[in-house]
């Protein structure tokens, strides 16, 4: 009796398994799933490529910035050494010299000009020394 009952149970179970197996193709994906998946994948890949491009651009900008910053300070040094006085400043200095030393305006202008050139030479020498 017990053997018969366990055989029945086994028989039922294998029948159930066969029934479930037969229902495996009952459900199918909707028609719009395929284009939707392919479109979403295309967009995802395009986004990934754009992100990669943006990342490469950011790295390039960073490298350029790292290279450009010492060049910038070098240029600033050159610019500071090349700062020149305006003509009006030289003229004012010449007038002061003429008043103080009681010399002619032409001679005072030559003196002021010579003084300005000395100053410029000294500044250029100083900046070259700093760069070394």
């Amino acid at each position: 009796m017990n053997e018969s009952s366990s055989f029945d149970t086994f028989d039922h179970e294998s029948k159930i398994e066969a029934m479930i197996h037969a229902a495996r193709f009952y459900v199918e994906p909707s028609e719009d799933l395929r284009p939707s998946v392919l479109e979403a994948a295309r967009e995802y890949c395009a986004d990934q490529r754009a992100e990669q491009r943006l990342g490469s651009f950011a790295v390039a900008v960073l490298v350029l910035a790292l290279i450009a910053s010492p060049l910038g300070s070098y240029a600033a040094l050159l610019r500071s050494s090349a700062v020149t006085r305006s003509a009006s400043e030289v003229q004012r200095h010449a007038t002061e010299l003429a008043d103080r030393r009681e010399i002619g305006s032409h001679w005072a202008l030559a003196e002021a000009f010579s003084h300005w050139r000395h100053l410029q030479a000294a500044r250029l020498g100083h900046s070259q020394h700093r760069m070394k």
Binding site: E13, H21, E28, L38, Y44, C45
Partner: protein, 189 residues
Amino acid sequence: MSSQDLFTDRVRLYAQRIGESSAAALAGLYDLTSQRLVRYATTITRNQHDAEDAVQAALVKVSGQPSLLCDCNHPWSYLLRMVRNESLLILRRRKRWSLSNNLSDLLTRRLVDDLDREDTHRAVWSALRALPTEQSEVVVLKIWEEMTFAQIAEILEVSVSTAASRYRYAIEKLTRKLQVIGAMEVFDE
């Protein structure tokens, strides 16, 4: 070589093609796996629309990173696990009251030769939906995917004995349910 091994090899081949020619090769993988992935996800989400969302999310991830499948030992199991994770994420987002046991969401295939068995198929799907998810997914993996309990245990991240006992409980419940509605007699005919 078993049919499951052949299927796994084909999944790996398509994943490699995706790696070589990007998203365009995804169509092949979709055609090969979509029906099986959707029916598995449907048993977890209990809603075909959500199941398709889960399948789409998993396949899109594969298209962006095909090495996920190429580099693992069992690409088909891995893909099933990805779909399972996406389905569980969707389930977590969904409100509890929206879970239903009716089959109105299902898009079904009606073959002329199989019309007389449609009621049986509906009864099977209804009975599967009435089971707890952890039991119904073991049944799906065991009977529809023809996996061993060891493979099922790996996908579900449980022990082999847990997978086997869930299957046993599920089959007992299914037997009772399907006997009550007389589906087995219809199947006998």
